[in-house]
Symmetry: D2
Subunit: 389 residues, 4 copies
């Protein structure tokens, strides 16, 4: 901790910029990591970004991301812009030797994502660290889930059910926004929520997706816009069945029309020796069923994941004092800073981000033909379906 | 109640025969229906069926179903045999003018089911009543759910998620049985559990399935049999996405490999004005989210479905005294007897049973080609997928 | 089972008469017990009791309990009348050598209860069996709880929290009834609900109550009666702290004013090695926390108490098929019949019923003086409080 | 916000010092309040407090609380020391015209608490703001509960059940500490957990405690200390029944022996028109039962208290993104700063803190005589019990 603090710039200051600022402001208070200095918050509107910078604890604000990224006192670039800008900024920052954190999803197109993954891999040689911000990997309950699976506690994995339900589009009069236009948002629930689900499939199982069958639907096809009714060009909901290369099957569902579900990422894993269940709305709990328990005493045990030995809890409060959603960003930055400190690769990498997008694209392709299967990775384990990406 | 009691014969005395006997033994004590007389229990093993008959409260037992069905003092034939015998017995009974209740699924093949539906329709002219025993329609919570949907409380239905999870096949050493052979059982989780799920889709929504995309998997492909290892020829689990003719999409999943889930039929419905959630393991509760509630006070209300005004509760205990799984059979017989009394059609009819099997067959067909869509009913509402049944 | 069926008469045909009839009608179908014959249902209104008898499956009805009890073909007398009649009928039946089951609470006064306990003890010499009907001892989840405690799985018991919440008196306009008059009902929530709570304290722990501190309250003191407003002379709610002779402390609360709680008997036990939680509204589940589980994996395990090895499940359905409230009466009769068959004492005995009433009386006494302690049983384990009963 | 930032000093840097630092570090980023400057963290161990200051974001550290409090650039003094120091520091700070926040409980003795309340009242004239830190008033779910009660949504309040369960003393070998010595800690679960419970009784109902009946128990009376076995001189658990001056009765229980309950402050309120339930382990949810809902649709609604219109949510994330335990301190400081800004009284005041201690003392007094009642405030509403404090 005696080395000089790492200079940080965050690009983007709306929802994700605010959440990441929460992380930067608190990470050194909670965890033993390299010290950071919150130097610059960058945005397009000078006045607004200045106000946000002051509020969130940044020393300066700027409207020029290139100049900021190039500054000598900036070591870390944290990209929280809309997806369309991710690639350009990340490539520029990597080229300048800066450590880069990109909010998920990695990019809007497969091409951009592939370029970014390649650049990140090249930069790794110079100990330049890059990471994509799937923050739910940093939920203590899901990190514990990953430990249990990796430790073999579930036996052979067979079935996953992952559903990410929100409801902010239920009202047909909810107005048009950039998130509902394909050219700006890339997709709807698929990229926004489905990307988390697919990332969890890979994170929790350590397996790759071999092939998918997908469905998508836009329930409300026209919404009121600033200039009258406008067509919604992204999905409201998607469904997919994923064949994994370890023989398991994952059912994935993502929707913004699930009336009454505010932020319900619900995950269930079933294996030959045990199973797990999780709901983001009760994020401090993990349900574990263990077939090693005596017959007659088996069932789902609700673990309050706040013990000192649970993942990420070492810096926090005594047992039973629960964490909140935004704390996942503190955990994410802890891992990112420790990777920088160790000169090691961070996870999930840009290559992981690319892999998630490959699966999302396959779901889209399959949905376009009514659910016919699309190959993501060829595998010997199962017979080849008919199409491939 | 002054008319002579209706004579009943049940064919089959294992699990379902026992459950139906529970219904017959109690229906007159709980509900105002025509009186019944438990006359004959029929089975193949004379000694065993005699013991069961005595135990369950039947006046007599028999090993000859034809002779029993033909008896003048038998008014009602209740078929609880394995599926392969359903058609023969039901057609014989209808031909003899007997009211017929058939345990689900209606039959093992589409052809048999179609014959039965046709015969039932012909018999209706003579006020001969037939019904298929999807007992979960008689759960008070799901009957209440149906009322809420039909009354428009959920607005426009958009998404259903129906999963039927059991775990009795998790152990790879669980032995081979007739339920795991395609020639005897027809299918695995699909027909056993998926049939309930599909019946609920139709019951709760009142809509028909337009097309499906399906997946199936047998995780444990060989199991120990009496004469050494044997191949499992049915599915362990199935997944399907159903497009309904009212524009909604239903995700259906059925498995006997969901470690820790003993009998978890879990149903969620999402509409534009409200939503519902149910779990058979907590069968007396229905979760209801109603957007008519004031903002800030919305959420899922857990209704304990034991009030006098709730479906089927009129004959039971004071509020708060919960019912059990087997009580659904008492409710089923109530409805069957009231239909007989009124000379009216019972629901679900054999035609409903046929319809469920049409959907199951489409799921199988789709699964055989990796999830490519299969049409069940042509509809104008949505573009036609590529295959059809 | 080849011996002649035991002849049964039930005295009383309202709520409890109906519930016990459910038990008698089904006990032989579920369990291997001596066979029973449902001979006579007794009540004061000839027409009404005749209709009930026919409905519930009794061969005859009668308005003369003495003549019925004295009949030679009556072996078992099951008393479901209001409490004021319990003693007279039970003493008469015991004097005639009949096995006697009395619905809880045992009697309305300590004196009657003591007489009954003495008579029952005398009758025991002639293998005449008597039992009091605390049916919640027969909930599989609570019977399992008792097994766990008795097996030492909770270590040293320290705290119990038992609350029985109902809400049928919330409405101030709910009419006056006999249950709200002290001379008829003895007490309010205390005897009605608190008796179950106190019985569970003794059943689950195997300990006796040493002393109590109690509070009671009547929130709605006047209610509309047939002849205008009338004074409520029983409690609406009671609270008590019980010192047990094993060193544990039990907090007991009973109320009929707990808005939204329909039949919520909620029980929690905390010991040095584990703990338990139960709610009657979810009666098939028992929550168990076991400190033998590895640190980091501890929590409350939700056991669905429907496995073949769970108490009372041997005669029921496959795992996961849940039971209902009324099934506890089938279990109660199973135990009663097995005691008769074995010529052994049944539990809970009349002496147990007397003991419960001793505790209830002490709570009343303490409440009358604002909570000052009242001794129930002198014990060396704790310093003596100031009053005694 | 253009006025100079308020200078803050926190005295104490262990658990509560860390939690309050979390609040100070984040309050300006979340809420529109006067700006603060984290100037000095004070503690006895120079090295340790310096390390903590750097970690938690303080500009300086000090071992001299008097000098620090007296500094001109310190406007706010936040006292997080053990209770024995509260009075001295607070009186000194108020005398110097500083705004004072004191962590709960207000003091270790009634005398100190009374002095502090008097001093705070005097200081109020000079717009010097003081507040006691019962942070659970700032849980959005409980603040919403208070709004619902105050708005009459529960009708006439009748019963409260408040239990604060932890389990960190279950193990008999858990070592002796200052928290288990009466001279240092004042009391055990009573002051530590019971104080929160009593504060909630007053906060949620707006009523005062008229009288109490209490019980206390030390289950493990000797524990291993540094110098061999030592006697535990505080309670492990307490139980109390509180008569409120609005006619309601509150049952209060606090324990550190509730195996498996990590931080379970569980609150239930029952009124004539509705009821509420809350559990701190699921702190983002409030269960509300509203009798205004149609019959048959009533039950407990689980509100996820993360909507923009819910208390304290205006500065946070979109709906469904849950908060954590430590965020209550951010809310607490928001309210404190807004009171300073408005020159108005903060709540809960030192007088509130004094009132809580009066109730705790009465519980202790009653427990000492086996539960006999102790008057806290004379009231006309109910007959006077026998003792008074």
């Amino acid at each position: 901790m005696s080395s000089p603090a790492l200079g940080v710039a965050v690009i983007g200051y709306s929802f994700m910029g605010q959440a990441h600022s929460h992380g930067w402001r608190n990470v050194n208070a909670v965890f033993d990591t390299p010290a950071v200095d919150m130097r610059v918050l960058v945005g397009r509107n000078a006045e607004a970004v200045q106000a946000s910078a002051r509020r969130y604890g940044w020393a300066e604000s700027s409207t020029d991301w290139r100049a900021t990224v190039a500054r000598e006192d900036i070591d870390i670039v944290d990209i929280c812009t809309p997806g369309a800008l991710h690639a350009e900024i990340a490539l520029f920052a990597l080229a300048h030797g800066k450590h880069v954190l990109v909010e998920k999803p990695l990019a809007n197109t497969m091409e951009e994502a592939a370029d970014m993954a390649a650049a990140a891999q090249r930069a790794e040689a110079a100990k330049v660290v890059s990471m994509v911000g799937f923050n739910y990997r940093r939920l203590p309950a899901l990190a514990l889930a990953r430990e249990l699976v990796a430790g073999g506690r579930l036996g052979e994995l067979r079935q996953l059910n992952i559903r990410y339900y929100q409801d902010w589009l239920v009202d047909e009069q909810a107005p048009m926004s950039w998130r509902l236009r394909k050219d700006e948002a890339g997709s709807g629930a698929l990229g926004d929520l489905g990307s988390h689900a697919v990332d969890q499939v890979r994170f929790l199982t350590g397996a790759e997706v071999a092939s998918v069958s997908g469905t998508s639907r836009t329930f409300v096809q026209r919404r009121p816009g600033a200039a009258g009714e406008e067509e919604v060009s992204v999905d409201d909901a998607i469904w997919a069945t994923l064949q994994l290369d370890n023989g398991a099957v994952a059912s994935v569902e993502a929707t913004r029309m699930a009336t009454g579900r505010k932020n319900a990422l619900r995950i269930e894993l079933y294996g030959s020796r045990g199973s797990l269940a999780f709901d983001l709305e009760s994020m401090n709990q993990l349900q574990v069923c263990d077939l090693e328990a005596p017959t007659g005493a088996q069932g789902f045990t609700s673990i309050l994941v706040t013990e000192p030995q649970h993942p990420y809890l070492e810096g926090w409060w005594p047992t039973g004092h629960v964490l909140g959603w935004a704390d996942t960003f503190i955990h994410e930055l802890r891992d990112f800073l420790l990777a920088i400190d160790g000169g090691s690769a961070a996870s999930p990498s840009f290559a992981d981000g690319l892999e998630v997008q490959r699966v999302l694209a396959a779901i889209e392709d399959s949905a376009a033909v009514g659910g016919a299967p699309v190959v993501v990775h060829h595998t010997d384990a199962h017979e080849a379906p008919v199409a491939s990406r």
